[in-house]
């Protein structure tokens, strides 16, 4: 079931919760238009509670329940990337890469260089063998989020293992270690790389 189909199924549930929301003078469903600064977005309590509950489902790896709840969230609150990102991760972990990709892309529509969203999508693409697309996402996102460690590391891994672009990997791991000097794992990788590149 794709995202849209799922959304339709969920609409019935939404109607129920809507009635409750209206009774408590909660906000009406928000549009999916981009906001200049979604950090200032005020989220209704019920949505926030649902999001919180979805996190519990996710931690319990109860992905179907988490997905259902998150779909209910994005049905009502379309301005924020976070629910979409979590939804994407949930889909991926439940084996539905297609819906996962859609969810991540949805998040990126709201915030094109959202570090977590770009990172998740790039990793997904890497796993699907779409290395070039992954690299492009990493690079673009890093331009805006140069300090976001997962991006720095993951681009390094992509370059090292899959693109076999050792210089790129070297640069990324160096950058990573410059940001996170104490990371032993990456230090080892860097050492291995330096050995292989003779540097």
């Amino acid at each position: 079931m794709n995202l849209m189909a799922m959304q339709k199924v969920m609409q019935r549930l939404v109607v129920l919760s809507l009635a409750l929301l209206l009774a408590s003078c909660a906000s009406t469903p928000t549009s999916g238009r981009r906001v200049s600064d979604y950090s200032s977005v005020r989220v209704s309590g019920s949505i926030n509670r649902d999001f919180e509950r979805s996190l519990e489902y996710l931690r319990d790896e109860n992905f179907p329940a988490a997905i259902e709840l998150l779909l209910a969230v994005v049905e009502r609150e379309k301005r924020l990337p976070a629910p979409y990102i979590n939804l994407g991760i949930a889909y991926y972990k439940s084996g539905n890469e297609k819906n996962a990709e859609e969810a991540f892309l949805h998040a990126l529509q709201l915030d094109p260089q959202h570090p977590a969203a770009t990172n998740e999508l790039a990793v997904l693409y890497r796993k699907q063998g779409r290395f070039a697309e992954a690299r492009k996402i990493y690079v673009n996102s890093l331009a805006k989020n140069p300090d976001y460690l997962p991006l720095v590391k993951n681009l390094g891994i992509l370059c090292d293992l899959y693109l076999q672009d050792l210089q790129c990997a070297l640069a990324q791991f160096n950058q990573y270690l410059s940001l996170e000097p104490g990371d032993k794992e990456v230090s080892i990788w860097l050492a291995d790389l330096q050995r292989r590149t003779g540097k």
Binding site: L80, N154, L161
Partner: protein, 1047 residues
């Protein structure tokens, strides 16, 4: 009004008859009148003895005079009294004679005795039907009825001469009449004798009596009456000698003339009459004298002189205002008639008509000249001298073409020729007449047509005669050489008539004949026009409707004979005419038996001209107007209405009309099937229309009702097929399936049967009847000759069986596929893949593997048909086939007996390596990566197996240590080998290849060479907050703490 010929003849004949029978009596009357006047004139004499009207009787007067003589002494009045007594005596005698005649007439009325006067009175009844108008019937001119003048009752010239020139003397009238109570002759003689004695006594006694001329005159008469003619004449001679100025001188000379004439002393008579004439018009005998001198001269063969007298007499009459046309004075009229007759006689002796011309040219014209010509004409006619008769009339007409009688004369000429039996001359005369007196001729610029009804009447009948004559001649086979000319003439005269007399009662009849002639001459178009004119341009007449019909007939003949092979564009205008004429006919003469037939013909032509709206309109009109028309006609009309409705896409109307047509069509009619087809087509089109409007429910209902409404229609199959198609669009799968199955049952051999199967397959598929759908696909495969279709159908069938969980049937179908279509190889391998999958799903491992092996085997021999896909399929099959070799290798545990098991494992390892190594040859990335992965795993497994192998139990600690070292040395290379093989997979990344096997190899390497490959990405971390986390507050507060705060 009687026509001229009739009128003229009547006068002529009346004149003659009267002359024959009654002239004597009439002349006598005339004389009596004159005589009375003469004798009566005594009454006006101024004498003392007055002419008394004595009441009672002549006898009383006589007695009175006699008494006077006896009682009165002789005086100067005595001779007068004596004369009176003598006169009365004669008068008494005359009265006795009159009584005798009256008695005879009265007796004749009952006795049946022939009396001349009666014959005269009876004459008119025969005269009336004398002339014959040329009322020839159309087809042929009839000879005119015989003129009554031919009846032989004509007076001969001799008789005429005798009668007309007869003296006024009484001597010829000696009819013995029996008078009751006495002998009138004796009485008369007796009285006359008494009178003679009295007159003679008077002359003797009173020789100087001043009225002795009168006495002598009376004496002469008394002698004459007593038969003493010579004595009478002597007295007259004496009297004219002695008393040349006597008041009785003219009468006396006339009587002398009569005396001489009677005795054929014509010269003397001529002189005596001349004396009277010499007295002039003052004499009452002037006119008679002219007449009689004419006769005297005539008798002497001095015709021109005779004519002079006759003409003088006529001139005199004219001068007295005599009207030749008068009818009131029969005696005078007859006299004039006799005069004309003797004039005719004279001219005939002088050379005929030319002599008249000559005479009047010399003597001066007379206004009554035409009568001279006409009388001469009639005279000749009596003599059966027809040419001369005609010539007489023509002579006048030629000289007086614009005379008012010329037309009448011309008619008479024609009649004369007719009587004479000169058809050629009659014809020529008629033609000339028709031309000369045509309504537009010069003649009528002089005379008012309306006043010449007879002439116009004659002109009409004349034109008809001419037309009829030439029409008959045209039809006469003996005259076929001149057929064309006769045709032209007939047409000319018919047209002449119609141009002038289209408003006459006979005009329609004549027009009808003209049309008939043209038709006979195959001038069809002309005939059609004339028939139409006959039918519609006159008030309704007996031939109206037949002409209307004939017009249509002629138009059609024209079309068939003259435009048979003409181009449609040339035929169309005529067809329009035919249609117009036909419709007009049917509209004007609905009672005509052929009206419906003609109308249906028009409707047919309208359809032929593709004038569909009019076809429908008039077809329906026909059916409305002629509900009782013949069945075949009504049927044709319905068919035409139906066709035209269909052609104008009025399919509902067309359906109804075809239905009507069929109800009038016999069950075994040849065209029945065609009509049924058309009915079906009408319904089908309604369905088609609905279909185009995407109203598939209506469309389907139309298509489906054809079966009941038009059973046996050719397009029934198509309709039902289309119904199914519409039902499919409507997703009415059940109904669609019913219809399609019905189709298959009803039309098993139909060319659409295969499409029905396909449709049924779709229907069943869509309706969830997967098994039925699959069966239809199997059927498609069987019915099709197209291998592509067959392969596709089997594939579909198998998929449907699989979807319906009927693996057995799916396998059967797939097996059939690979059996029937081993080539092309690729789809065959795909099919075998499905077979293999089914076996695997069914747990039939052996069959599954067998199938995989078969795939590998077939693919290896594929030659040119091998491609990436076949290699992929075969490679994967081979990969799967290789797995048991890995399992077999892996399952061998290195336990006691070590050596044997080791050997066994080595052996199997070798086999597995071989199997996987072979897979590389497929050059399929996935397979290669998989094979590489397995190869690496074989080595790794072997190194682990060695590591985990059972140690010999009989070794010392040292030996065991050495054993371990030796084993280590064995293990290490296999592990290294495994790493390097896995890295081969990683190297595939450099070639742009990436798949699950490579990822698995990386996963393996991550544990084998962690520093190099254990690269876990940072991902999958849930965002803990729906809104972005606020900037870290702790740091801010720490900074604040460090700075000690602002301010």
């Amino acid at each position: 009004m009687k026509p001229f010929a009739e009128r003229t003849l009547v006068s002529a004949i009346v004149m003659r008859r009267c002359a024959t029978a009654a002239s004597m009596a009439l002349l006598l009357n005339a004389c009596a009148v004159n005589g009375g006047k003469t004798i009566g004139s005594l009454q006006s004499v101024d004498i003392e003895i007055k002419e008394e009207h004595i009441d009672g009787s002549l006898e009383k007067a006589l007695a009175s005079y006699q008494k006077y003589l006896q009682e009165t002494p002789e005086s100067s009045l005595t001779p007068e009294a004596m004369r009176r007594i003598a006169d009365l005596k004669i008068k008494q005698a005359h009265r006795a004679e009159d009584a005798a005649i009256d008695s005879a007439v009265g007796a004749a009325a009952t006795s049946g005795a022939v009396v001349a006067i009666d014959a005269d009175a009876a004459a008119p009844s025969t005269r009336l039907d004398a002339p014959t108008r040329a009322s020839a019937p159309i087809a042929a001119s009839q000879p005119s009825a015989a003129d009554p003048g031919d009846n032989g009752a004509q007076e001969s010239d001799r008789d005429f001469e005798a009668r007309a020139s007869a003296s006024i003397a009484i001597e010829t009238d000696n009819t013995p009449l029996q008078v009751p109570g006495g002998d009138p002759d004796a009485m008369l003689s007796a009285n006359a004798r008494e009178a003679i004695k009295l007159y003679r006594d008077l002359l003797a006694k009173y020789p100087l009596y001043d009225r002795n001329d009168q006495v002598m005159y009376q004496l002469s008469r008394a002698y004459e009456e007593t038969g003493q003619i010579e004595a009478a004449v002597d007295v007259l001679r004496d009297m004219v000698a002695k008393f040349p100025n006597s008041r009785h001188i003219d009468e006396s000379w006339f009587r002398l003339g009569e005396y001489y004439f009677t005795r054929k002393k014509y010269l003397d008579a001529e002189e005596a009459y001349g004396r009277v004439i010499g007295i002039g018009v003052a004499s009452s005998f002037y006119e008679l004298a002219l007449y009689k001198r004419g006769w005297s001269l005539f008798k002497q063969d001095m015709y021109e002189m005779a004519l002079d007298d006759y003409i003088a007499m006529l001139d005199y009459k004219v001068s007295r205002g005599y009207d030749f046309e008068q009818q009131s004075n029969e005696v005078e009229r007859k006299h004039v008639e006799d005069t004309f007759r003797v004039i005719s006689l004279s001219f005939s002796y002088l050379g005929g008509a030319e002599s008249i011309v000559d005479y009047f040219s010399r003597k001066g014209e007379r206004q009554y000249e035409s009568l001279v010509y006409s009388h001469l004409g009639e005279y000749y006619l009596d003599k059966r001298r027809y040419q001369d008769a005609a010539k007489s009339y023509n002579a006048f007409v030629e000289r007086n073409p614009l005379h008012k009688v010329s037309a009448d004369f011309s008619i008479r000429v024609i009649e004369i020729y007719k009587k004479g039996g000169f058809p050629k001359l009659v014809l020529d005369a008629k033609k000339e007449f028709a031309t000369t007196y045509a309504l537009n001729a010069q003649y009528w610029t002089v005379f008012e047509i309306n006043e010449y009804g007879e002439v116009v009447e004659f002109l009409q009948s004349n034109l008809i005669d001419l037309a009829s004559h030439y029409h008959a001649a045209y039809q006469n086979k003996k005259l076929k050489d001149n057929k064309a000319e006769h045709y032209r003439e007939a047409i000319h005269w018919y047209r002449s008539y119609l141009q002038s007399f289209s408003d006459k009662p006979r005009a329609p009849e004549i027009n009808y004949q003209l049309a008939g002639l043209m038709l006979e001459n195959r001038d069809y178009h002309g005939a059609a026009l004339e028939y139409e004119r006959t039918a519609y341009q006159y008030p309704v007449h007996k031939d109206s409707s037949e002409a209307g019909y004939a017009a249509v007939y002629a138009y059609r003949e024209h079309l068939d004979n003259n435009l048979k092979n003409a181009a449609a564009s040339q035929r169309a205008p005529l067809l329009r005419e035919i249609i117009r004429s036909s419709l007009k006919f049917a509209d004007s003469f609905p009672q005509h038996a052929k009206a419906p037939q003609v109308m249906v013909g028009a409707v047919e032509e309208l359809y032929g001209l593709k004038d569909y709206p009019q076809t429908v309109h008039n077809g329906r009109l026909l059916l409305e107007k002629f509900p009782a028309a013949e069945q075949e006609i009504r049927r044709s009309a319905w068919i035409l209405v139906a066709h035209a409705s269909f052609d104008t896409e009025a399919f509902v109307d067309a359906e109804a009309a075809y239905g009507q047509a069929l109800s009038l069509t016999a069950a075994d009619a040849k065209d029945r099937a065609g009509l049924v087809d058309n009915l079906a087509a009408s319904i089908y089109q309604q369905g088609d229309l609905a279909r185009k409007q995407e109203d598939h429910a209506t469309a389907a209902s139309h298509f489906l009702r054809i079966r009941n409404v038009a059973p046996g229609a050719t397009l029934l199959a198509t309709a039902e097929y289309d119904a199914a198609a519409s039902l499919i669009v409507l997703q009415d799968w059940t109904q669609a399936a019913t219809v399609l199955n019905g189709f298959r049952r009803n039309f098993p051999q139909h060319k659409l049967a295969k499409d029905v199967t396909k449709k049924l397959a779709v229907v069943y598929q869509e309706s969830g009847e997967l098994l039925l759908a699959a069966a239809e696909f199997e059927r498609i495969e069987r019915e099709s000759e197209d291998d592509d279709v067959r392969r596709e159908a089997l594939t579909q069938a198998a998929d449907l069986y699989s979807a319906a969980k009927d693996s057995e049937k799916a396998l059967t179908v797939l097996r059939r596929y690979v059996k029937l279509f081993p080539s092309p190889m690729e789809p065959a391998l795909e099919t075998r893949q499905k077979i293999a999958d089914l076996y695997r799903a069914a747990g039939e491992q052996q069959r599954y593997l067998d199938e995989l092996r078969e795939m590998v085997r077939i693919e290896l021999r594929g030659g040119q048909q091998r491609n990436d896909r076949t290699r992929y399929l075969a490679g994967n099959a081979a990969l799967l086939l290789a797995e048991p070799s890995f399992d077999a290798f892996a399952e061998v545990q290195l336990v006691e007996p070590i050596k044997r098991n080791l050997d066994k494992k080595r052996l199997r390892m070798k086999a597995a390596i071989s199997a996987y190594s072979d897979l590389i040859d497929y050059q399929v990335a996935d397979v290669t990566a998989a094979a590489t992965y397995y190869l690496a795993e074989i080595y790794l497994h072997f190194s682990r197996a060695l590591k985990d192998s059972e140690r010999p139990s009989n070794l010392s600690a040292l030996e065991l240590e050495e054993y371990e070292l030796a084993l280590e040395e064995q293990i290490y290379p296999f592990e290294e080998r495994s790493i390097s093989v896995h890295e081969k997979n990683v190297e595939l990344l450099g070639m742009g290849i990436y798949n699950a096997w490579i990822e698995k190899s990386i996963g393996k390497l991550a544990s084998l060479v962690p520093a190099r490959y254990a690269r876990a990405e940072d991902a999958g971390e849930y965002l803990p907050s729906i809104v972005p986390m606020a900037p870290v507050p702790e740091q801010a507060s720490a900074d604040d703490a460090l700075s000690g705060g602002e301010g």
